[in-house]
């Protein structure tokens, strides 16, 4: 049994319904952009539950509530996945997971949806839901097509006073409002301008007319086309008239003549072929002229060309195995005969060429910069290593100097001790002799010698302490 709601009806209902899915799909920035730039804001947003999928979708990718492939799916804490819209609607009635009835609510922490599922959904092939449009694409691109590019999406009428919708392809401002009534030129009925074609084809009473030539019934507004292409009684030249055939008669006779083998057919085919070849040659010549013009007018191009050669030399010096400078220069001098020329820098206008050069130089600079950074890092690493080495040496030397210092002071103190003992001995001797020399000098000497010995004592003490430290 066919469903009462045929796909066509469904589509019409979708496209004409105001944007009511907005609870679930906040209007995206892209749509705002389309509105601003084109002034033809699509009126209904894409209804994901009405999309037709090219191939049957795997059961596991269907939302258990709406039975369509997930749209912006979320996963509940209990691990079940639903469309965000569906689960939110279900939770309004019952705060439980529809599958296992675990208590959940709208504010609960929905798990992140695995990207692999998103990818699978994005890749599903879908058809554009607009009537008349047979575009197919992966699902992730459908929204962009539908909202910004599809010629059949219903948008606001270019006439701001008109509240009706019109397909985007008819929405150019210069078309004006197409909903205004017009009078059918054949039956005098009043029909909205936009529906005139449908009117002609189906309900115009004066639509069918007899072809004055063949007497066949044709739709009136197709009469001209009929007479030029199909009418059997219309006078027409033979298909091969370019080949010199002189037959000009009613079409049915001419067709018989063509089928039975026009003597000029071979020549006609040849000429047809030549005309096509000629077109191709003209196109090539046009491109060649354009290219020469660009080359002559653009001295900068030479410069960049040279720069290119220079840099390729530089790169080849870095990597001598790929040195192919002559090839590149050769390619540069070749005119772009074919649009699919493999040398990307040469195809197209001089601007393209310059841009390509510029980009290439940029990447080159980027490469050099990277290498410089690498070198820098390497250098500082080496310096750091050597510096630590030196630091170790310095510390070692410092230690040794300390040891030598201690040895020195120990020897010095030993020396001083001996010296002091000698001096004490000689002082005792001289004191004995000084007694006999005179008391005036000896009165001052014992004091000074006492002082000297006391300092010597204190020195010895301090040296002795350092000596014990050293020994320790």
């Amino acid at each position: 049994m066919p469903p009462p709601n045929t796909p066509e009806e469904g589509v019409a209902a979708t496209t004409l319904r105001p944007a009511d899915d907005d609870n679930f799909r906040a209007s995206s920035p892209s749509s705002a952009m389309a509105h601003a730039s084109q002034e033809d804001a699509y009126v209904s947003s894409l209804d994901y539950q009405n999309i037709e999928y090219v191939e049957p979708v795997d059961e596991t990718l269907l939302c258990p509530v709406c039975r369509t492939p997930f749209h912006s799916p979320i996963t509940t804490p209990c691990g079940h996945t639903f469309c965000a819209g569906c689960i939110n609607r279900a939770l309004e009635t019952q705060p439980r997971c529809p599958i296992d009835r675990q208590p959940i609510n709208k504010t609960c922490d929905y798990g992140r949806l695995p990207l692999i599922i998103k990818e699978q959904l994005d890749r599903l092939q879908v058809r554009c839901p607009n009537k008349g449009c047979d575009y197919q694409c992966p699902r992730e691109h459908l929204e962009g097509h539908y909202e910004r590019r599809c010629d059949y999406t219903q948008v606001r009428c270019p006439d701001s006073t008109c509240s009706q919708l019109t397909p985007r392809r008819d929405s150019a401002v210069e078309n004006g409002c197409l909903h205004k009534d017009a009078i059918c030129e054949f039956c005098d009925k009043t029909v909205a301008f936009v529906e005139m074609d449908t009117h002609y084809s189906f309900d115009c009473e004066g639509a069918m007319t007899e072809c004055p030539g063949c007497g066949e019934q044709v739709v009136r507004h197709c009469l001209v086309k009929h007479r030029a292409q199909d009418c059997a009684e219309e006078t027409t030249p033979c298909k091969w008239h370019t080949g010199g055939c002189k037959v000009v008669d009613k079409r049915r006779i001419v067709q018989d003549h063509e089928q039975s083998g026009c003597p000029s057919e071979a020549v006609g085919r040849l000429i047809q072929q030549q005309v096509e070849d000629r077109k191709i040659i003209d196109e090539l010549v046009r491109r060649l002229n354009k290219f020469e013009l660009a080359q002559g007018k653009n001295p900068e191009r030479r410069f960049t060309q040279r720069a290119r050669v220079g840099s390729s030399m530089a790169s080849s010096s870095r990597n001598p195995t790929t040195a192919n400078v002559p090839d590149i220069t050769l390619n540069n001098n070749m005119p772009p005969l074919f649009p699919d020329s493999t040398d990307d820098a040469v195809g197209g206008s001089p601007e393209d060429y310059l841009l390509a050069q510029f980009e290439r130089l940029e990447t080159e600079v980027e490469l050099l910069r990277k290498q410089a950074l690498e070198m820098d890092a390497h250098q500082s690493h080496i310096i750091h290593q050597q510096a630590t080495h030196f630091n170790e040496h310095l510390a070692e030397i410092g230690n040794k100097v300390g040891v030598v210092n201690m040895h020195m002071s120990w020897l010095m103190s030993l020396q001083r001790q001996n010296h002091a003992q000698q001096r004490a001995g000689s002082a005792a001797g001289s004191a004995n002799s000084g007694m006999s020399h005179g008391s005036a000098t000896s009165g001052a000497r014992p004091g000074s010698s006492g002082e000297g010995s006391s300092t010597g004592e204190s020195r010895r003490n301090s040296e002795g302490r350092s000596e014990t430290l050293h020994r320790l």
């Binding site: 469903p3 009462p4 899915d21 258990p64 509530v65 709406c66 039975r67 009635t93 019952q94």
Partner: protein, 155 residues
């Protein structure tokens, strides 16, 4: 908004059940997205239901499948109302699955039919619910608004 939602979901279900239905379930009519008729049979040898076919009427609200559909047995000359302690003689079914509490949006027409099949299959009492006559005489409510008292959870 909810009207097209129910229609969309029912469209999908219809697509599926016109292709295949479980044994013992048959689609009789689905002219619109408000009321469908299906026939069910009990497949095993339960003597109470042998050689009989029952007509089910589904009525879908605009919030289906968030809200449960209204499901009743319909009496026709060749379609009796099955004897069951949870089925009143006017066709109203007392089943938690069809109430607000027991319903879940993942249920569908097919699963409801299968539940009813198994409800009949598992039954061994050839009787009506207690108070059937009073209920049938007095009830003017829609089935989904009735607050059923589940007399017996074992059946």
């Amino acid at each position: 908004m909810t009207v097209p939602f129910a229609a969309k979901r029912l469209g999908k279900e219809l697509q599926k059940i016109s292709n295949s239905l479980p044994p013992g379930v048959e689609l009789v009519s689905a002219e619109n997205f408000e009321e469908w008729l299906l026939d069910i049979k009990v497949l095993d040898n339960n003597p109470i239901y042998q050689n009989q076919t029952y007509r089910l009427k589904f009525r879908f609200g605009p919030s289906y499948p968030i809200e449960p559909p209204e499901v009743v047995f319909v009496q026709l000359p060749d379609r009796p109302i099955p004897m069951h302690p949870h089925v009143y003689s006017n066709g109203i079914i007392c089943l938690d699955l069809l109430g607000q509490q027991g319903w879940s949006p993942v249920q569908n027409v097919e699963s409801v039919c299968m539940s009813l099949q198994s409800m009949l299959t598992g039954n061994s009492k050839d009787e009506r619910p207690p108070g059937d006559e009073d209920f049938v005489r007095a009830n003017r409510q829609r089935p989904k608004d009735i607050q059923f008292y589940y007399h017996d959870n074992n059946v």
